[in-house]
């Protein structure tokens, strides 16, 4: 397949302007003739559904939860970046663009990132107008804080609940459009297939999670904003319902899946403490602004932290990266934590944790200041661990958090299936091999408020309305396949539960395709996944009925897809014989144990194309050209 990124020509700062002019417009009176399906109600989906409806399109919006307000964007804590330069500290669109490309270890598409930096300022304006209660200075102006991977303060925040407030902003706009009748909301629906006819996305098939009925919806375009696939690891900071099913089934219908092996391991999570654990809890990375990361200097030092004198502590991030210190990007911070623990310096009961210490910050600024900044995070930490971080250093360990990979999209955010757009974490576009903190919220809202409203019009104006209805045989075929899978899952009646399989898959992925990977491990993982998948289809135990609220069946479908998708991740990780960002191949590292890229051979997006269940996926490459940023070895020293 020939990948056409449709990046407009001209200087990078003019591309988006010029492109917007070149895009065809739909006459305002004609917009009401078009129907758009938006799957997902997070920052990408919610913002897209609201904005498209504001323009006059008829939107059908779907979400898996009971209310559009619960999408997992809500859990983002730290903040949202924007190149406002309100702090007068030298920020600019160009710097945000540069930081993002560099932070992504030069595996993102320059033009997309530049556009993201450009619209970042509009996002803040829009959110403030919606009533998002961002933190303010005494004079009433917006406050900023700094974040990992940047040396300027460009992060806007609402206590430790920025994602929540931004999402509720989008949800408010969405609610307004629901009331106006422009958005028809379908909650408790899980998308199980995309229907394509004559190489165009025509609609989707969903399962009503309350009744178990399979429902079919046709539209003129389909927008997927279904989030990331971090739950392939079973334990991640993702919500329990976050899954790969929507994007994976779109992949099976012809959308290329790009860079699936690019996953982000977040450095500041609460460590794992038991087999029963269902998810990991992230502590905002903003904590690294004031917390100092350390481990005991000597391996095996089991003294309580307060008894370890200053001289016997190793503030390893400050030592190794004097200029960025505790604010190095996530991948660097995570890998270093793993390295310390692998050397036996890990702390806590399991030895898989490092300290994040606020003693100095509390002494410097006073407890009240720290409480104002991080109060709710400290409270959350204490609730989970029963330890008071004002007195005892926090223990943290990296956890799977975000997936940079996703469905391949062009500059217009359209996948390789015409008429199917992909937004937010579900696409691959802006973060390369590693995402900087406070950039996910920015991307979701940029895609939803300020990109898709323009680009979708161009497609609709060109392709016209969809004449295929939900009665078309292609819909029936898809419906039958979805039903058949459910029937099959319920009929196996084996011995192992869905979670049991999921946990085993998670172990395989974490062990061999996690923070550090190597060819041997990845090959082994591929075999293990295939074996596990085969066992799943013979030995899974799914109770309950098809036409009912059946949470076991829901999970079974998702795990079935994870079991296939996990292998795709491994294949991608195996083929990328370099280290970059979150993808760290042990065979490819610098003498200082940093990720070593191979720009000559791997400076491309790997977009995998589905060829059938028994066929190997085909690799398509989109070469990455860097005209504005010089490719350098990342250094945060």
């Amino acid at each position: 397949m020939q990948l056409d990124s449709k990046v407009p020509g001209g200087p990078i700062q003019d591309k988006w302007d010029k492109h917007r002019f070149d895009l065809k417009l739909v006459n305002p009176a004609n917009k009401r003739k078009y129907k758009v399906i938006v799957v997902g109600t997070g920052l990408g989906g919610g913002a897209a559904a609201a904005s498209l409806a504001e323009l006059g399109y008829n939107v059908l919006n779907f979400c898996i939860q009971d209310s559009p307000r619960r999408a997992h964007s809500i859990a983002a804590q730290g903040g949202i970046n924007a190149a406002k330069n309100y702090q007068n500290d030298g920020d600019s669109i160009w710097r945000l663009f540069y930081d993002t490309v560099k932070g992504g270890d030069f595996r993102a598409r320059e033009s997309n990132v530049y556009r993201l930096a450009q619209v970042s300022t509009e996002i803040i304006d829009q959110c403030v107008a919606q009533g998002v209660p961002f933190a303010r200075e005494y004079g009433g102006l917006l406050d900023n804080r700094s974040f990992g991977g940047a040396q300027v303060s460009r992060t806007f925040y609402a206590r430790g609940q920025t994602g929540q407030q931004l999402l509720l902003g989008a949800y408010a706009s969405l609610s307004r459009q629901i009331a106006a009748g422009k958005v028809k909301m379908f909650s408790r629906r899980e998308m199980l297939d995309v229907v394509t006819v004559d190489e165009r996305a025509r609609g989707i098939v969903v399962r009503n999670l309350v009744t178990g009925e399979i429902e079919k919806y046709a539209a003129d375009a389909v927008v997927l904003a279904t989030g990331g696939y971090g739950n392939v690891f079973f334990l991640s900071t993702n919500a329990m319902a976050s899954n790969v099913t929507a994007t994976y089934r779109a992949y099976k219908k012809g959308a290329c899946f790009a860079n699936p092996c690019f996953t982000q391991i977040h450095p500041t999570c609460i460590p794992v403490h038991g087999d029963y654990q269902s998810k990991l809890t992230l502590m905002s990375e903003s904590l690294r602004n004031d917390g100092r990361v350390w481990v005991p200097r000597e391996p095996g030092d089991k003294r309580p932290p307060n008894e370890i004198p200053e001289s016997e502590r190793d503030y390893y991030l400050e030592r190794k990266y004097p200029s960025f210190g505790n604010l190095v990007p996530r991948d660097v911070a995570s890998r270093n934590a793993k390295e310390q623990c692998d050397q036996g310096k890990g702390v806590g009961e399991t030895g898989y944790a490092v300290y994040l210490d606020f003693a100095d910050a509390i002494e410097r600024d006073g407890k009240a200041v720290i409480e104002k900044k991080y109060g709710n995070l400290f409270q959350m930490y204490e609730k989970i661990t029963a330890q008071n971080p004002y007195e005892v250093p926090m223990m943290i360990y990296p956890a799977v958090h975000y997936t940079m990979g996703g469905l391949w999209v062009d500059y217009n955010l359209m996948s390789t299936v015409p008429g199917m757009y992909v937004l937010g974490e579900a696409n691959f576009s802006d973060h390369g091999a590693n995402r900087l903190g406070a950039s996910a919220l920015m991307q979701g809202l940029a895609d939803g408020y300020f990109v898709i409203p323009y680009t979708i019009g161009d497609f609709l104006a060109t392709a016209g309305t969809n004449d295929v209805t939900a009665d078309h045989p292609a819909f029936t075929e898809s419906e039958d396949a979805v039903k058949a899978q459910a029937t099959k899952l319920l009929s196996i009646n084996g011995k192992r539960t869905v979670d049991d399989f999921h946990k085993e898959l998670g172990h395989i992925m974490w062990e061999y395709c996690g923070m550090a990977r190597n060819a041997e491990g990845l090959r082994k993982a591929q075999g293990l996944i295939q074996k596990l998948r085969a066992e799943f289809w013979e030995n899974v135990l799914v109770p309950g009925e098809e036409k009912d609220l059946n949470q076991s069946l829901e999970r079974a479908g998702r795990v079935a897809d994870f079991l296939e998708f996990g292998e795709l991740m491994v294949i991608d990780a195996l083929h990328r014989e370099e280290s970059c960002g979150g993808h760290f191949r042990e065979e490819y590292q610098t003498e200082e144990n940093e990720a070593k890229r191979d720009d000559e051979n791997f400076c491309y997006v790997a977009a995998w194309e589905y060829k059938g269940d028994d066929e190997a996926p085909v690799l398509n490459k989109e070469p990455l050209e860097f005209e504005n940023v010089k490719l350098t070895q990342r250094s945060y020293k």
Partner: protein, 255 residues
């Protein structure tokens, strides 16, 4: 310290919205005190599944106390006995070995039970749809710093805006009233200059919607603020009342 405990659960089981439903007893054995309440239910469900029974249906998603999806009444308390805590953040260290725990769904006329502990809270969305927003379209906003907001107002707005929409206020209110939920949203937007132009209209429409959706009336029992996982104060209800009076008695607009 981590230890394990054994519990007896009395769980509300209901096949579907039409079913009458009843309590069923089951055992939760070897529960680590580091588990969250929902992880305890996970363990029980794994056991039920292997025993060929149907697991308990319950709503949950983020499991870090922010999505508002989880929530049941545990021993008579919405989200369990801890203050300022959602069910997913309630840890088993707050229970003792041998305890019997009664688990019931949110109960209110406005919330229909769909299955076991899963309830339909779309009525809360209905209240927001009536006016819980500022009417701005994407694209038309002025520069964010053109509109200074006093820090104190921004903080109060944030206090109110923290609502996660879980419905614990309704579940714990002796009258199944949604005043704290509505009051929090009305307050959040009324406190900010951006929200002022529509303040009267918003208060009016949301109160009307709340009544129409079948919630009860507020009698200032203060159970809602005592049970709210985000500890939202009834100061917000008072503010909603003021906004409502302004709309009803003083606004020139025709409602």
């Amino acid at each position: 310290m981590t230890k394990t405990i054994n519990l007896t659960l009395k769980v509300w089981r209901q096949k579907n919205a039409g079913d009458k439903g009843k309590f069923e007893t089951c055992q939760a054995r070897n529960i680590s005190t580091d588990m969250s309440f929902l992880e305890m239910l996970d363990v029980v469900n794994e056991g039920l599944t292997v025993d060929g029974k149907e697991p308990i249906a319950f709503d949950h998603d983020c499991r870090e106390g922010i999505c508002g999806m989880c929530g049941t009444v545990v021993n008579g308390r919405a989200h369990g006995p801890e203050k300022g805590t959602t069910l997913c953040q309630l840890h088993m260290r707050h229970f003792d070995d041998g305890d019997t725990i009664a688990i019931e769904p949110w109960r209110a006329r406005a919330f229909k039970v769909l299955k076991d502990l899963v309830v339909d809270r779309s009525a809360l969305d209905g209240i927001i749809q009536a006016g819980g927003y500022i009417s701005v379209n994407a694209g038309g906003a002025q520069d964010a710093n053109n509109l200074p907001v006093p820090q104190d107002k921004a903080d109060k707005a944030m206090d109110a805006a923290q609502c996660i929409g879980c419905g614990a206020c309704v579940a714990s209110c002796p009258n199944a009233s949604a005043m704290l939920f509505a009051g929090a949203k009305i307050s959040h937007l009324a406190l900010l200059p951006q929200g002022r132009p529509e303040a009267a209209k918003r208060a009016w429409a949301m109160v009307k919607a709340m009544d129409a959706l079948g919630f009860g009336n507020c009698t200032n029992e203060r159970e809602c603020e005592a049970e709210c996982p985000k500890e939202i104060s009834i100061v917000n209800i008072a503010r909603m009342n003021r906004e409502y009076y302004k709309a009803g008695f003083f606004s020139g607009e025709k409602n």
